[in-house]
């Protein structure tokens, strides 16, 4: 089953959000709740959690990309 990784809604209101870095690579095994990516506004670092146990199967946004709340940035195959 495929699970989408999204920029969390709690980042709403920030003028600009950038995907700072991926903390795992495609093919890595992750657990639900693991921090797998970091996004940032000018003053807030936001650690993004894996939505499920599985393997990071796709990266849909690259490091330093500007991203939006709710945007799907990757997928987990669980």
């Amino acid at each position: 089953m495929k699970y989408e990784i999204a920029i969390p809604e709690f980042a709403e209101g920030a003028e600009e959000i950038n995907l700072r870095q991926w903390l795992v690579a495609v093919g890595d095994t992750v657990k639900k709740g693991d921090n797998i990516a970091e996004a940032a506004t000018d003053k807030i670092s936001i650690y993004i959690e894996s939505p499920a146990d599985g393997v990071l199967s796709a990266i849909l946004a690259q490091e330093d990309d500007r991203v939006l709340v709710g945007q799907i940035i990757g997928e987990i195959e669980g």
């Binding site: 709690f10 980042a11 003028e15 700072r20 940032a40 506004t41 807030i44 936001i46």
Partner: protein, 233 residues
């Protein structure tokens, strides 16, 4: 219904030692084995490099910093470069912020408002500047808008880390080692430089707690660090 928080004051402590404690508290807060917490501290001189640091904002070499007794360390908060040192009051709220406010952005704005309200208690008029985080005041001597309070936070597993600093009476010369927060066209000041009489940090802490509780609808009570986590200094 008011939310119960605890506060812990680490006193004067190195940034590194305090961050170890902060991470322990964060982990406990995430697993709900410790209540949401306001962690207070005052650091020995240190320059911290946030996740958004631009190298050109560090104006001294590590050797020059060492000569001035200023340490240098990379940190996990958002934002650019920052200085912490004696005479600066630091608050790190470690809490499930979404239980108090809607969104991380609002959380930041509320923290700034707590500082503005706190400054008002000391007859200082703090304000925000659009597009720039932190709290600003007009320094009487120069008539210039300067930053008196800086912030940078991180959110991991829904719980905040890092927080906000208030310049009470730090050595402002130390800020010349950096372009604070990457803002080159405005300077940094302190409450003392703005005419406040000498301020006792524990008194300021108590006023901060009152202002925080009023803003966040909480009831914050004292605990000691030894009651919550095991740690080595």
């Amino acid at each position: 219904m008011k939310k119960d928080l605890i506060w812990i004051d680490l006193g004067l402590i190195s940034y590194e030692d305090a961050f170890v404690i902060q991470e322990q508290l964060h982990e406990k807060c995430v697993t709900k084995t410790c209540p949401d917490t306001l962690l207070f501290q005052e650091n020995y001189p240190v320059i911290t490099l946030g996740r958004g640091t631009h190298e050109q904002n560090l104006l001294m070499t590590p050797a020059e910093l060492l000569d001035q007794g200023i340490a240098l360390t990379a940190v996990s908060r958002g934002g650019d470069i920052s200085y912490h040192g004696n005479g600066q009051f630091i608050v790190s709220p470690i809490l499930h912020f979404d239980q108090y406010v809607k969104g991380a952005h609002q959380y930041v704005r509320c923290l700034e408002q707590v500082v503005i309200n706190l400054l008002a208690h000391y007859q200082l008029k703090g304000k925000r500047i659009k597009g720039r985080s932190g709290v600003w005041v007009v320094e009487p001597e120069t008539g210039e808008e300067k930053k008196v309070s800086a912030l940078g936070i991180a959110v991991s597993h829904g719980v905040t880390l890092h927080g906000i600093s208030i310049n009470v009476n730090p050595n402002l010369e130390h800020f010349k080692a950096i372009i604070p927060c990457g803002i080159a066209d405005k300077g940094v000041t302190s409450m003392e430089a703005c005419g406040c009489p000498p301020i006792n940090l524990p008194d300021l802490r108590d006023q901060f707690i009152l202002a925080f509780d009023e803003m966040f609808g909480s009831n914050t009570t004292k605990r000691t660090i030894d009651e919550i986590v095991s740690h080595k200094r």
